[in-house]
């Protein structure tokens, strides 16, 4: 592949802290290599700002290999930018060409207050897990792992739901800022496994209740969450959770699948 360099205009959300109002600021970056990652382009911009005696732009990032879920930029109107099944850190600059303008915002949701610039507080997700996103198994005396055979397709399905990295792109992409894809992925992962079965119903009820308390919106089946998910978490999980929840709240039924 031919490499090239480009000059870009960036319109980036700047916000001092949770209490103050934010605004867009415009920056120019020059000689960006098409081989860089999107976050490396931000590294260049920040080094430039520091050299000019200005404050760099705060953004969350850590593993830079698409698995920790820390990076969280809303790029030209899309959570994690234009690439399918890709986190911001894995988006590369060959997507762009010389002269492009790129608008970068933080995740926007009442439940994710901005800490600074592009950094948001996602502890609401931890609290949803605390409400029931686990199997109550103390350390120490678990039975032999192979004494619980699990059908391969169920194990695969549980794994597909468990692949969620908790980045919050689903919330950012949703016009209602709903956390249903995140929540349902965890509920599905655990409910699909025999070990998670005993707590299935109470888990669904408690996690949904916590989600409402945190101020996330309701799900109206738009599907932008699935479209923006870097790990391809399926909307089917939401349908499964809904059956589970209704079964738990109204008594009979619920999904055994």
């Amino acid at each position: 592949m031919e490499h090239y360099s480009m000059n870009l205009t960036l319109k980036v959300w700047k916000q001092k802290n949770t209490k103050t109002k934010g605004h867009f600021e415009t920056f120019q970056v020059k000689n960006i290599s098409s081989e860089m990652s999107f976050l490396e382009m931000f590294d260049v911009l920040n080094e430039q700002l520091i050299a000019e005696g200005k404050e760099p732009i705060a953004f969350d990032h850590d593993c830079r290999e698409g698995i920790c879920g820390m990076c969280s930029m809303y790029i030209n109107g899309r959570a994690h930018g234009p690439w399918h099944h890709t986190t911001t850190c894995q988006l590369h600059m060959r997507e762009y060409k010389d002269g492009d303008t790129i608008v970068v915002e933080p995740w926007r949701a009442n439940a994710f207050p901005v800490i600074k610039d592009l950094v948001v507080d996602r502890q609401a997700f931890d609290r949803i897990i605390q409400a029931g996103g686990y199997i109550s198994a103390n350390t120490g005396n678990a039975v032999d792992a192979n004494s619980i055979p699990i059908e391969k397709h169920k194990a695969d399905e549980a794994f597909a739901a468990a692949a969620c990295i908790g980045c919050g792109a689903c919330v950012a992409a949703c016009p209602n800022a709903s956390a249903m894809l995140f929540l349902s992925a965890k509920a599905s992962h655990l409910a699909l496994l025999p070990q998670g079965d005993p707590e299935r119903k109470i888990r669904a009820v408690n996690m949904v209740e916590q989600m409402d308390k945190e101020g996330f919106g309701s799900c109206s089946n738009i599907g932008l969450c699935e479209a923006s998910c870097p790990k391809g978490i399926s909307l089917e999980n939401i349908a499964r959770l809904n059956r589970e929840y209704l079964g738990a709240v109204f008594g009979e039924g619920g999904d055994n699948a």
Partner: protein, 658 residues
């Protein structure tokens, strides 16, 4: 101070059982009065905090990320070893122990490694009980795969995301304890000092990274589960935030540092693409089963790989190591790639890369597949198509990841790879109970030095983190705290807390007031270059001595000219990073001193002066069958303490690959 490893007496296989049966216990009512601080929430920290919370201790966890679930354990791809022998291929606790000690080139403790092998099977049981979705066979039972350096299939995995699934399992167990009120969790907090009272670790000073405020927290004991220090090299496969700060502060407060120079450099990573590279990404070692490694025979050849005829390619591993070819061990493959690139034969825009080419494998598999379909005279296009399908089945997800990062299709163009810093076997010195030389201060997981000797085997890091957290510390911590049940919580107004906080505050203020002209990032890069060039894959006395002086000079420059924007009392990632780089600037010097002292080659530590005629690592067992544990004595001063390694069961032999 004599180093006492506290390995229990008796036969190797009975040591841990004996320990567990005789160690002191703490009754439930007393546990509720005992407070434990856990720094870091990766596999070691999250599993320890969850287990201790379940037992009834009052636990506080701290992590610098925005959630405990982000810790870098999450990035481990391949799997986790356990001596389950589900495949009936002759595996056993002893065999896992044997492979691990040998893989570590005979520089680890027999007692520790045997315990690790012993509890490995319980880890898998525990994880399955928590709902970790390991890969399964059609019969519903767990699947295993092979990994490097062993002859059995003992690696459990969850696609290419084993670390993520294990960490989420431990994280969920931790969150359950948070909900039950047994654990209080602090995210976006960084530990900046250990508080020591009457010779015992009794708390920490942490900085709230959102507000910039310093906080004091008391604990009857402090557990450091803060990971490794590979980022001292600037470029590594570690996460951007991975750092040595917690371990380094502990070191400066009296905890000895064990074998700091032992670093693992992984041969197959996606290479640096330019000066702006921020981190390196691993490509699984399994690719070397089918890929052939080569560089052009001509120096500085700028032709595209497919334009270079076979006779103008140097398949240097096959040339130098005809017996093992492309499957030489990690350290050999890494050093050979560096040698070719240093000599001017590297490829890609940075010239710091070699090709890993699948064309031969695609052709070979294609012909076999065609033959299976009865086509014994297939055309080239059919062969290519069929061959690509086989390669996709085996390595599809890795090829996809490579393409995302580089924009090149590795089915058509050879991959470019280069070695990268991956893991640090060295770390805080701990005894059998995982306690450092400071009473009440423990180190778990990659933060300690204990189990991997001079080289870690693949799929063993996850095993060690969880062994320490789920199965070792719950016993050994009780043995210490049993004597502490009469100690009331010490108020954080105690003068030791005052003094520790003052020290942290002054250091931060000094750093902020420098107001120089060079960014933190720039200093980190310069340190990384010194470390990589002179304390990297191959080391020699001259280079190490130079590096020590260069690092000292760079440190001086840092404290005179670093520029940190923003304020102290706000969210300021540049300030956080500055503190970490300042610590790396001290650690780097110790690593070089340790590498200089250890004039033998062993595992990942290769001293050019100590090699066999064939260029392999040559150990000096008479002189160096020991742990080098360094005590901090003030500015640039480190005193060496030696812990002799006694091999009662294993026989030391020189590794040979030819």
């Amino acid at each position: 101070m004599p180093l006492n490893s506290k390995i229990p007496q008796g036969e190797l296989s009975q040591k841990w059982t004996t320990y567990k049966s005789t160690c002191k216990l703490v009754n439930p009512a007393n546990k509720r009065q005992l407070e434990v601080i856990v720094i870091g929430t990766g596999l070691a920290g999250a599993s320890a905090a969850a287990s201790l919370g379940e037992m009834g201790y009052k636990v506080k966890t701290f992590c610098f990320q925005d959630s405990p679930r982000r810790a870098h354990s999450i990035a481990a791809q391949g799997g986790i070893n356990a001596a389950k022998n589900y495949q009936n291929d002759g595996d056993s606790t002893y065999r896992l122990f044997y492979d691990t000690v040998k893989g570590g080139d005979y520089r680890s403790r027999e007692g520790n490694v045997y315990r690790l092998a012993e509890v490995s099977a319980n880890i898998i049981d525990q994880c399955v009980a928590q709902g970790v979705p390991f890969a399964r066979e059609y019969g519903g039972l767990l699947s295993n795969r092979s990994f490097g350096g062993v002859q059995v299939q003992r690696t459990f995995y969850a696609a290419g995301q084993t670390g993520q699934q294990l960490l989420i399992g431990a994280y969920q167990a931790l969150e359950r304890q948070v909900a039950l009120g047994n654990v209080t969790q602090y995210s976006r907090h960084e530990m900046l000092e250990v508080v020591i009272i009457d010779g015992k670790a009794r708390g920490v000073i942490v900085r709230n990274l959102v507000t910039g405020e310093l906080e004091r927290h008391f604990g009857h004991a402090v557990l450091l589960c803060s990971g490794g220090y590979g980022n001292v090299f600037y470029l590594s496969t570690n996460a951007m935030g991975s750092n040595v700060t917690a371990a380094w502060k502990a070191h400066k407060s009296g905890a000895f540092f064990g074998n700091p120079c032992f670093t693992q450099i992984h041969p197959t990573c996606i290479p640096v693409s330019g000066d702006h590279q921020s981190k390196l990404t691993l490509m699984s070692e399994s690719l070397r089963n089918d890929g052939r490694i080569w560089v052009p025979k001509k120096q500085g050849d700028t032709r595209k790989p497919n334009e270079i005829p076979v006779e103008e390619r140097d398949y240097y591993l096959e040339r130098r190591y005809p017996a093992f070819g492309n499957l030489v061990p990690r350290d050999v493959a890494s050093r050979a790639a560096k040698e070719r690139c240093d000599a001017g034969y590297g490829v890609g825009s940075s010239r710091q890369a070699v090709y890993l080419d699948f064309a031969s494998a695609i052709e070979r598999y294609g012909k076999i597949e065609a033959g299976k379909h009865g086509n014994h005279n297939p055309d080239a296009e059919t062969v290519r198509q069929l061959g690509e399908e086989v390669v996709k089945e085996k390595y599809g997800n890795l090829f996809e990841m490579y393409e995302k990062i580089t924009g090149e299709d590795p089915y058509k163009i050879p991959m470019r790879i280069y070695p990268a810093v991956h893991y640090t076997m060295g770390g805080l010195w701990v005894d059998y109970e995982l306690m450092t030389t400071v009473p009440g201060l423990y180190a778990l997981g990659e933060a300690n030095f204990s189990d991997h000797g001079a080289n870690r085997l693949g799929a063993s890091a996850l095993m060690q983190g969880l062994a320490d957290g789920y199965f070792v510390i719950p016993y050994t911590l009780g043995n210490y705290l049993a004597d502490d049940i009469r100690t009331k919580a010490i108020p954080t107004t105690h003068e030791a807390f005052e003094a520790a906080e003052k020290k942290v505050k002054e250091r931060i203020e000094t750093m902020m007031n420098i107001k120089g002209s060079e960014s933190v990032e720039s200093f980190h890069k310069r340190l990384g270059k010194i470390m990589w060039d002179k304390c990297g894959m191959a080391r020699n006395a001259k280079g190490l001595a130079e590096a020590i002086e260069e690092i000292k000079a760079l440190r001086k420059e840092f404290w005179a000219n670093v520029r940190i924007p923003g304020e102290i009392k706000e969210y300021n990632p540049e300030l956080d990073k500055a503190g970490r780089v300042a610590d790396f600037l001290e650690l780097g010097e110790l690593m070089c001193k340790d590498a200089l002292y250890r004039s033998e080659s062993c595992g990942g530590h290769f001293r050019e002066e100590s090699q066999t005629e064939e260029g392999e690592a040559l150990r000096k067992d008479d002189e160096f069958t020991l742990v080098a544990a360094w005590e901090y004595k003030g500015d640039s001063n480190f005193e060496l303490h030696k812990e002799d390694l006694n091999y009662e069961v294993m026989h030391l032999t020189q590794r040979s690959y030819k």
